[in-house]
Symmetry: C5
């Protein structure tokens, strides 16, 4: 489904309503420097993209990649054109989960086509932000490439911060005795962090290539903007790496604490067992049937035995308290 389609010239959007694909292709063919059309698709059916493929001469392999889900993030150079795949990330507050989507982008002289799948990174905002900057828009299609990547990478930051919060919650749970050990939650966070790394890491190299001027069609004036994006992506990736290591440590700390806790439990249990076993033994003694057991015939033999048992209990409780088993 085509979401929006516009013609930009001299840094200004030429009209408010969406262009038909055919008209967009004509404008593109006639585009001068710094002029371009930007067509935005969302959850495109196969027909949409195939029409554009013919009109704009998109490379078959790029189109194939854009149609299949689960591509690897990448920035690829096709002669005159660039093909970009990005993973978008979105934190689902209620379920405390990270959801990943995908954006493919075809760009070349005079045109940009973006295809969005799944949740995360509304491109409308990216377009608005760019339209508010005629100085960048004037630089042509490359400015839209920047605007999209910048949007996607900026949207990583709240997600990675939400994961940071989750990790802090998990830490509190781990080091707080009253809460059950959240092994499954630690593991799920680790899974998310690993997946996040796979979303960000493959971008770092091509973004550095962009930053150092590796793609010649990127105007010099945009390079520091691409460097800014690369820097944010690196920050996200470094934070994600730290989180990965932290979660490994949390898991180890958790295991260690479970063992410490088990030690405490075993000690307490044993102390209780000891406290009961000794008076039981005393009772067994006076349950023996010897003919000559003088205590049995004492007037206060029974209360004395009860007192003896109580004394044993008190002494044992005291002892186990002192060695910190109770």
């Amino acid at each position: 489904m085509i979401v929006d389609s516009a013609h930009y010239k001299n840094g200004v959007r030429q009209h408010d309503d969406a262009l038909a694909p055919g008209r967009a292709a004509e404008l593109r063919n006639a585009a001068g420097p710094g002029e371009f059309v930007w067509i935005g698709l969302h959850e495109s059916g196969p027909g949409d993209l195939e029409e554009l493929q013919t009109l704009f001469g998109l490379h078959e392999l790029a189109v194939e990649d854009a149609q299949q889900a689960h591509q690897r993030p990448k920035i690829e150079d096709y002669d005159q054109d660039v093909f970009v795949v990005l993973k978008t990330a979105h934190y689902h507050e209620d379920r405390e989960e990270v959801h990943f989507g995908e954006i493919s982008m075809f760009a070349g002289p005079g045109y940009v086509i973006t295809v969005r799948h799944g949740p995360g990174s509304e491109l409308a905002t990216a377009r608005q932000r760019l339209e508010a900057r005629p100085d960048l828009l004037k630089l042509g299609a490359a400015s839209a490439i920047w605007a999209v990547i910048d949007k996607v990478v900026d949207d990583y930051i709240p997600v990675v911060d939400a994961i940071e919060d989750d990790i802090e919650e998990v830490e509190k749970d781990v080091f707080d005795d009253d809460v059950p050990a959240p092994t499954a939650r630690i593991y799920n966070l680790k899974r998310e962090v690993i997946e996040f790394h796979r979303a960000v890491w493959p971008l770092l190299n091509p973004l550095e290539t962009l930053e150092q001027g590796g793609f010649e069609r990127i105007p010099e004036a945009l390079r520091s903007f691409f460097r800014d994006v690369a820097d944010h992506a690196r920050r996200v990736d470094e934070q994600v790496s730290s989180q990965r290591e932290l979660l490994t440590s949390v898991l180890q700390a958790n295991l260690s604490l479970v063992s410490v806790n088990q030690n405490e439990v075993v000690k307490r249990i044993s102390a209780i067992a000891g406290v009961i076993a000794v008076p039981t033994f005393v009772a067994s003694v006076y349950g023996m049937n010897f003919d000559h057991m003088p205590e049995l015939h004492w007037r206060f033999g029974y209360p004395a035995a009860i007192l003896l048992m109580a004394a044993c209990v008190v002494a044992l409780v005291g002892f186990f308290r002192r060695i910190d088993w109770l």
Copy 2:
């Protein structure tokens, strides 16, 4: 055994039936640009390959490698020729196991020879797919190299996805209390993933060399196709790396959960032991033989004792419930 052997010229297969090796060699010697023969062998006996070695002047070291199993995946340059070793992967649904096979490929101006061992990656499909693309076929033997590597790498994807499914099953087992901890299965998955990494990883570097035009005999027009293969191989390798890390975490999480579980068991057991030990103690007390134990002579001493015991049991059960040991 020769499975198929064909002569391609101007992007078209010249005949349907298989060529004799001698005729193929003649055609190869007379081949113009973009013309080549493709001989496919399966589980070749030693004689097959030696005949072709003489006819096509294959390098002795390459032939030696193709005859021994368990080679390292590689793409090697021999003057005019290229020698490729690939690991094929196949997921055996019933046994939930990955099986690995091997494909060796000799290629040079005017000829391609493929030798397949073990399960996985039927090359007939690769050949059909290529025959349906005269535009690529026209580019000569290099197009067959691409077709074979593309087939093998594409066949990795369902395997890696099946492993992903297995990991998800294992996760469910680990975090579900009622199923025994699947340590052996986690370990076997890890083994497969490590072996998979060994199958894919050595390909990444030579594929990047191909992609960047390192082998001069690969026509420019095929480079983006090789880049596509390299990209898929990288995706598989990155997924496999994530799986490796996930499985390490699963093993740790499993250990942690086993310990947590043991803690629960120990607590429950101790609670039960305590619940029995206290009334037993009471019974021992009234089993003592003191002359003067007034309770023994009470009319309702016995039911009172039974009630006392029952009260102890109720109190203890309540207590252990409250501290969550029962």
Copy 3:
């Protein structure tokens, strides 16, 4: 808030009081080689920086970064200008915690602007140290870049040494039986060390670039000073890496010791249980109601039984002592 603002010429501060921003910008525009103004801000509100942005033509992306907290440490090249972000570290003695702050620095021909957030690395000292070195000050704005980075990196060293002390304390706790296992503290140290690594590591590469003359505006004479800073940063990073590995080992050693300790506890408990169970059994035997139990009628049957029980206890205690369970 502008903390200090000075004009340096020929290696000498031109006046004691702070310059107004406008005057500073004029001096900068007229600055000859080796002449510059240095404006220091602390916890700057948005207005401060925006005024300077207009006066000094700072790059918008750099200003944006300086205003947001939690940037990645970096040294960036903007045409004529350099933009530096540094993490400052400060060890809070009472809470035994590391606190991180941030310094941003804009520098170019004729000017340096520093913006400090949070605790750590008072820049006044850096300025005084530099003012005491007219030979360096004479080299222009680059000397102030060096002075600031040098100050920040030098301030890492007491922090990393304090962490070293904390680790040694933790080691003592782990290997000393009488102290509870400090899992939470080990984990918090690990967290700090990971965060420290994130503060130092991204600086190493750009510092090496500076050291090798990668930024052409850095005078040759300052290079060995930048190398010195790079060397200290590397030392800190290597120490932090060792600490990270040590803390992992401490956690493992702790787990191992907890298990060893549990083994000891289980053995001791079992020995005690055995020591009580045997005489209890003896008492049960003489509690049986058989008609013909000769011992029951012996004159000294009862004391003999008591002696027998005592003998059992002594023998068992001896036995468990010998096998080191008590």
Copy 4:
């Protein structure tokens, strides 16, 4: 001790018996292209090597290295000469251990000297294999360098396969409940694998240098042979790396299984204890001495009590069976 010493010219050994060192040195000085002498020493005493050092002008540092054991594997360039140190590996079937030996090799225009220490890699086979290949022998001393490295690396393969078998045995032991956990054996395998890595890994870089023509005195025609060796060495190193990772996982899986097993044991024990404790309690109740306990006077009180106890046992066994504790 000199094992063999021969003069090769035009790809043919010139005589069957061993040359005296002096004669060998004369032949070397007069050697034309592709002509060389090969002197093989075994467990050489110091005198042997010193004589050759004077005769052939070997570099003092190389000779020093060849005399001391425990050198690092390496391929070093000395002006005209090459000095090679290789670790040989041999699997001792009976003790299931890997033994490492060492081969040093001096080579230069017209001569090769090999010095073998300890077990593994009989060089006589390498020599015979080379003598059967006049086409390679003709290329001069470099062919003997290849023959020796090829022999040593080929001999790694059965060793690494034997370790693979040992790992599979260990896996079976770990996942088979009836066999004690083979921690010590896993550890010893890990030690061997780490040592193996140290034997192979340092060779990879210089072999790649040879393969890419880094040593100019290696004839072009031999390069694909060196590439073949490098490829085998890489295969061994990759397998050894996988084994290292597998053994780490085996150790973790073992720990996990030991804990699972302990859980089972604790459950079974507790079930048994419960099964005994309940009838013991019943017996205690009827051992009480209350005057009014009607059951005691029943005709079939005793068998009824026995039946009650038996019923308790049956019920408890059933219960524990159901919750899978017995």
Copy 5:
């Protein structure tokens, strides 16, 4: 304190007694090629070095580094001069600990100044070894740089071998049941090995630079000597890396064995408890007070009961022996 100070010319020491610093500086200024003075300091006070700084024009940053302890090992280039920091290692036999010291070295045309702190690597031996080699001494100050680094790196080898021995002892303790698990000792070894890595690793890169002729003032003839040192340093670093990995495995194996051991203990304890509980139950049964318990009135009821109990014990011991719990 100046330990020794000598003037070398044409490969020969010019006099036996120590030079005054002033005279040394004069000789240095007049030094021809291959001529130099070598001043050796030990635990120098601040005055010593400052005097030499003025006389020899040492760089202030290098002097600062030499005065502070705990520098990072490095080889730095200052225009004409080289500044070297080395960590020396010494194994303290009695305390089985590695002690680290530090050597700083200033060198340039015509002079070498060495400053030694702490234990390890007596430089007198390095000087004597060099004085015995006029061929090297003749090459000037660079030969002394080599002699010192060579001495320090050679002294690493006995230390790393002593650690190897300690690891082997620790392995024996871990796998020998009768010795308590040496967790603290494993940890301390790990700490030493990590510190050792920090001492050796930073040297590898600059040594490789020296080896490849990166420092132009090093005469060609010395390069293979520097390569030899680099090779030894690499060997030490690789051994230290292996040890690090081994110690991690030892810690894991230890944990695994502790758990296995605990399993054994728990089984044995439970068996013993079972063996006592059953006859106790039997005794309780015959302690019941039923009117009609025929066994109680049998002539041999008591011995029969004792026999029954004994039979139970024998049967249980046999059973637990068979399932390997006793």
